[in-house]
């Protein structure tokens, strides 16, 4: 009997042998790992856990997984979770993005798509109620995000209507796709969807690119999966929306006001590759985006009333026609203040370009900022780059983004992501790696989100937030204390719902219980499900390889720059407290039942039903 809240089956695609079939997972696994980030990790272990260190993330053996969770589409803010062995951290990241693809997949009767192997020519996968099929995508290979979306929209809609002509108008399919960056396997490229939504962390765009997989498209017409207690769910659904509607300022501003306030209030915004974190450029304030550029002021994703997204459009000047979301805070900062740019119009242009190229707005822009600092310090010269790369020069960063996406010249090195680019450039320039890694702001290879830890005023990032995070610099899953975030981001990324659609925890967990019928509580998630998922991800991270393996404790650390004193703003001189980080790291390991080097202890693995990890963890102790 299909577990409640699940469509009940997953599409399994082997691209090398062009074999497509359905696969299911025992109810016990679903109860333990739920979906998305958690279930993805378990699938990865079952498939390639044994030879994890040897698997090349960009090789055919790596598995690209797009999963929903039991609450996706039913609870406000439906998202898709992309995961697999990460080409950036060599561990795993539960990288989510809001998209209609998620609930379309579920209404087509699938909870996820698992892709292994490598296609010999560009293809995309179409999932409908009749099952999955592999279709040619050669005419799509090389197209930018906006083009891909337009062409696929029409092509698939026409195809589905032709198959069932008199059923009436066919709504558009949902889809996830990669841009040129993913196709050219830029390591931190992301999986794009809905023009400006991205599963940004983890570099899964390059994993799709490595499999010649241009897109996965889904269109279903069935109902959302049955739930355990329908009437309870309907009541909780109403109450959840009432809560979301009550948050007026967030609905009004979305994250589009952060570009000024994070820098000005919290001094934790990346400015010129994190050389500073404070600014007071009023030209970059929310109203300056809203009044001139927001053509739609409440743009929501499936089943969500927050409407934190906005549609911006540049209507005049050289970048006329650029369309993207507010941009959301991460891209306001990374494609704005991080480049020394405080002009909303330029910021919208660069955000739209980065989305269309398929770069990760955070990872890609971090690497571009890193290159600009090397240029500032003379390590990279105009000859190396091929053009002048001054801070604040939008044209230069526009070219740099394209050069990296198409791996031209220095772009080929920078396409390896900030960490590996640092090592390569050190080699090229005959410098010691440390001299380059000083400016690389990453943790475990994953470029840090736009929330610094030095001011300690930020609402997200503090001392060990990134240091011990199994998803490295991922700001959406920063660690607080090894306890709270387990029922926070670990839960939302496994139930695959939006972090911003959080309602009071009892309501969310009652909702989860009413949907699945599993005896989930905040407590059970914080003591068992959460630690189990995080420990499994920690194991992957520790195994690492093949090109990089992280050194326990030494690499469970903030980037060097986060220990330099802040040079400006009200918190000038302040920095992350290294001693506090060391102490809290130990407490964190202890809380999760890991030894002082962060290796999961034997009894912890037993307790969390992760016995299968003992053999490989033993070797690391």
């Amino acid at each position: 009997m299909t577990p409640r809240g699940y469509a009940g089956k997953y599409l399994n695609v082997d691209l090398t042998r062009e074999k497509i079939g359905d696969v299911t997972f025992p109810e016990e696994t679903l109860e333990q790992y739920f979906g998305g980030r958690g279930l993805g990790a378990k699938i990865l272990w079952d498939r390639i856990g044994g030879k994890w260190s040897e698997v090349d993330p960009l090789g055919p053996e790596n598995v690209f997984i797009a999963l929903t969770g039991p609450m996706t589409g039913i609870y406000p803010g439906g998202r898709i979770c992309c995961t697999g062995k990460s080409p950036v951290s060599n561990g795993t990241v539960g990288s989510t993005a809001s998209t209609e693809f998620a609930h379309e997949l579920r209404t087509a009767g699938y909870d996820g798509v698992i892709v292994s192997g490598r296609a010999d020519k560009p293809i995309y996968i179409l999932v409908t109620e009749e099952g999955g099929e592999i279709r040619d995508a050669s005419h799509l290979w090389g197209t930018m995000g906006e083009e891909t979306l337009k062409i696929l929209n029409k092509e698939v809609s026409d195809e589905l209507v032709s198959r069932d002509p008199d059923v009436g108008l066919m709504k558009e399919p949902g889809m996830i796709y990669v841009g040129p960056a993913g196709e050219n396997m830029v390591r931190n490229a992301c999986v794009m969807t809905k023009l400006c939504h991205a599963a940004g962390y983890g570099g899964y765009g390059s994993v799709m690119g490595s499999k010649n997989l241009k897109a996965i498209v889904a269109k279903g017409r069935g109902p959302l999966p049955e739930v355990y207690a329908p009437e309870a769910v309907k009541l909780l659904w109403k109450r959840a929306h009432e809560h979301l509607i009550s948050r007026d300022s967030f609905r009004r501003q979305g994250t589009g006001y952060g570009g000024w306030s994070t820098g000005n209030f919290y001094s934790s915004e990346p400015i010129r590759n994190w050389q500073e974190e404070w600014h007071d450029e009023r030209s970059f304030g929310g109203p300056m985006f809203e009044t001139r550029f927001w053509v739609k002021k409440q743009w929501s994703d499936f089943n969500c009333t927050t409407g934190c997204m906005k549609v911006s459009c540049v209507k005049t000047g050289p970048w006329k026609g650029a369309i993207t979301d507010n941009p959301d805070y991460e891209l306001q900062s990374y494609c704005g203040t991080n480049f020394g740019i405080y002009d909303p119009e330029a910021n919208i242009h660069l955000s739209a370009l980065i989305d269309n190229l398929g770069h990760s707005g955070i990872g890609g822009a971090n690497t571009m900022g890193y290159a600009a600092e090397l240029y500032q310090r003379g390590i990279l010269t105009e000859k190396d780059v091929g053009f002048k790369l001054e801070w604040g020069d939008t044209e230069a960063f526009d070219r740099l983004a394209r050069v990296i996406a198409y791996r031209e010249g220095v772009g080929d090195v920078l396409a390896e992501g900030t960490y590996r680019a640092a090592l390569k450039i050190a080699e090229m320039k005959g410098l010691k790696p440390e001299e380059l890694l000083r400016y690389a702001v990453h943790v475990k290879g994953i470029e840090v989100g736009a929330h610094g830890t030095r001011s300690d005023e930020d609402f997200l990032a503090h001392d060990i937030g990134y240091a011990v995070n199994v998803q490295g610099g991922d700001h959406t899953s920063v660690v607080r204390d090894g306890y709270h975030e387990l029922s926070g981001s670990v839960f939302t990324d496994s139930a695959v719902i939006c972090n911003f659609a959080r309602t009071p925890q009892e309501l969310m967990f009652d909702f989860a219980k009413a949907v699945t019928g599993y005896p989930i509580t905040v407590e059970s998630w914080r003591r068992l499900n959460g630690p189990r998922i995080v420990t499994l991800q920690k194991a992957f991270l520790l195994l690492g390889g093949p090109d990089v393996t992280w050194e326990p404790v030494r690499d469970d650390e903030n980037p060097p720059r986060f220990y330099e004193p802040l040079p400006s703003g009200p918190f000038k001189g302040r920095t992350t407290d290294r001693e506090l980080v060391r102490r809290r790291r130990l407490v964190y390991f202890e809380t999760l039942g890991w030894d002082e080097r962060g290796i999961p202890k034997k009894e912890t693995l037993e307790k969390l039903d992760l016995g299968f990890l003992e053999k490989s963890m033993f070797r690391l102790r």
Binding site: D248, T291, R292, K315
Partner: protein, 173 residues
């Protein structure tokens, strides 16, 4: 009285100016658009901008007053003008990033929105007409407020581009 703020969505403003009438009727007893604490600018027809105090977090107007005629209402966070003390020098208007205060046509006293003690009349008539260009929210002090103290002509320039695209840049000079 919890701290309140008037959210203003310029795009929704219809230009009916009922806020000016409601405000002046409340404070002056009769319709007096030029004595209303909220004044609707229209640098170009169709581009109407309601202009009113944004209660900046650092209150530059209160700081700039040479005779301390301006104070802050602890409850509503509104700026309160002591008419006797005010000498009509206009310092507060110059200090305000959006030049919101102005001298009353009757007695050249500084005139600034006092949020009607917590239940603004302008918001009522705007909501009644369904425009929601002015909305009352119960939110604490925030640094974003000051960003809304902008010269209405600058706001209008942005609105014109949003409404009319390229043509918008020629309309407000």
């Amino acid at each position: 009285m919890s701290s309140i703020w008037i959210v203003r969505d310029y795009e929704n403003c219809s230009g009916c100016r009922r806020c000016e009438l409601a405000c002046s009727m409340h404070h002056e007893g009769w319709m007096w658009p030029e004595a209303s604490r909220i004044r609707v600018f229209m640098p170009f027809p169709g581009v109407e901008v309601p202009h009113l105090c944004a209660q900046c977090d650092d209150y530059p107007c209160v700081e700039s007053c040479p005779v301390e005629a301006l104070s802050v209402d602890g409850g509503t966070t509104a700026v309160i003008v002591d008419e006797e003390t005010c000498i009509g020098c206009g310092a507060c208007a110059k200090a305000c990033p959006g030049t919101v205060p102005y001298l009353h046509p009757r007695d050249r006293k500084a005139t600034i929105c006092d949020l009607c003690g917590g239940d603004p009349e302008c918001v009522k008539v705007c909501r009644e007409a369904g425009y929601n260009a002015l909305r009352l929210v119960h939110e604490g002090m925030s640094g974003h407020r000051k960003l809304f103290a902008r010269n209405p002509v600058d706001v209008a320039k942005d609105l014109a581009v949003k409404f009319f695209g390229e043509k918008g840049e020629e309309l407000i000079v």
